[in-house]
Symmetry: C2
Subunit: 212 residues, 2 copies
DNA sequence: CTATGTGAATTTATTCACAGCA
DNA sequence: TGCTGTGAATAAATTCACATAG
């Protein structure tokens, strides 16, 4: 294996591999071939081998890759580790769904604080997390929580983002379908669910939405 | 303008442009320059001009692009139109959040049917949509609903997917963090919220999660 | 004989630089 | 002069084909 920069597209696929490998590990498998992994995640085997070759060379020819080793490497590259604390702002339907979302745990994330501006919600416990007043967002700095999920209505999103940045948050997962601006030192990932959906009709032949 | 296939990456950016253009249109602007659009969506102006050049050539030099015309073209390419019916399966927190999600409307999608297996929920109305028994998924064919959102727990996802396929659904937006398999004639987009989050530590210098 | 690993070829996408039009 | 539009240059990612190890 020669050193080379890992392409961005490979980085994008690593979480996919990671999840699939955990799945295989749970089944009790010890080794996995590039082709069986390919089948599960819907890619070609050579793509997967190429991806792994950027940081690996730890497969065994004629056998496959050791799952535990792959998981270890991906964890190292993506800096996945347990106990990565996240704050949630907005405990509405979407926020509650986030608190219940089982997917975060896989990558070591844990929502340890929740905030809302609704007095009826403040003080209540949702999924073992006590809902705090959104006015207390400043406490995140002291509590060393540097990642946050915004799940508030559009109008409130920018204001919340500003407060988060002031509180030392460095990464934001934004679920509101609107633009927020932050200093360039803070990384924002905006997830607009509808945007992925919007691409669907283009790709489905004859259109999913034909009138029949 | 010469004819050329529109690159996939351009297609991926079109919904982003679309949303931003609607935003500018609401502000009452009539023209937009590639650079102001670029600033809002966080891309370079030449990228945007290049993207538009694949299907356009309708900008005015020295002035910019006519917003209405751009919107029209993007609508045509992505096949965006109003009244695109969607069914929702699973009216838990995530499902309820989907029903309330304002982003779908932008692209002309509308959730017109909701299903759950919880007798307590069946018959109730959530956001003007009556919750039906999941056993009645078969009715989608008759009702000409060909797109569905799966927002059920992992264990139930595959079963629901099978039923949807049987009911003639052609596109599925899957929110459960697990693999579902469908015939190749059906397009599935799986959104694993945690997967985007998982890439964040890699990109943030020094790591978002440093111990201080 | 199976499945990895990787240079080389190919395809695809981004960036540049500037011509051309209002 | 300002901003579009686009070939050409560059960069990046995918695909191939096959040598190589177990």
């Amino acid at each position: 294996m020669r050193f080379r920069r890992i392409p961005d597209e490979t980085i994008r696929r690593l979480p996919v591999y990671f999840r699939a490998l955990l799945f295989f590990a749970e089944q009790g498998s010890r080794y996995i071939s590039s082709s069986s992994l390919a089948e599960l995640v819907g890619l070609n085997s050579w793509q997967i081998r190429k991806d792994f070759s950027y940081f690996g060379g730890f497969g065994t020819r004629g056998v496959g890759y050791e799952i535990a080793e792959l998981l270890k490497q991906i964890r190292k590259i993506l800096k996945i580790r347990t106990g990565q604390k996240i704050a949630l702002v907005g405990v509405g339907n979407l926020g509650s769904a986030m608190l219940a979302y089982p997917g975060f745990q896989i990558y070591g994330f844990e929502i340890v604080a929740a905030f809302d501006n609704n007095p009826k919600k403040i003080g209540k416990k949702v999924k073992n997390v006590k809902v705090e007043d959104v006015a207390k967002l400043g406490s995140l700095k002291r509590r060393r929580i540097r990642l946050a999920i915004i799940a508030v209505p559009c109008e409130a999103a920018q204001n919340v983002a500003d407060k988060l940045v002031n509180a030392g948050v460095r990464g934001i997962l934004n679920f509101s379908p609107c633009y927020i601006t932050v200093p360039s030192t803070v990384k924002v990932i905006t997830i607009d669910i509808a945007m992925d959906l919007a691409r669907l009709p283009y790709y489905v032949p004859g259109s999913v939405f034909a009138e029949w």
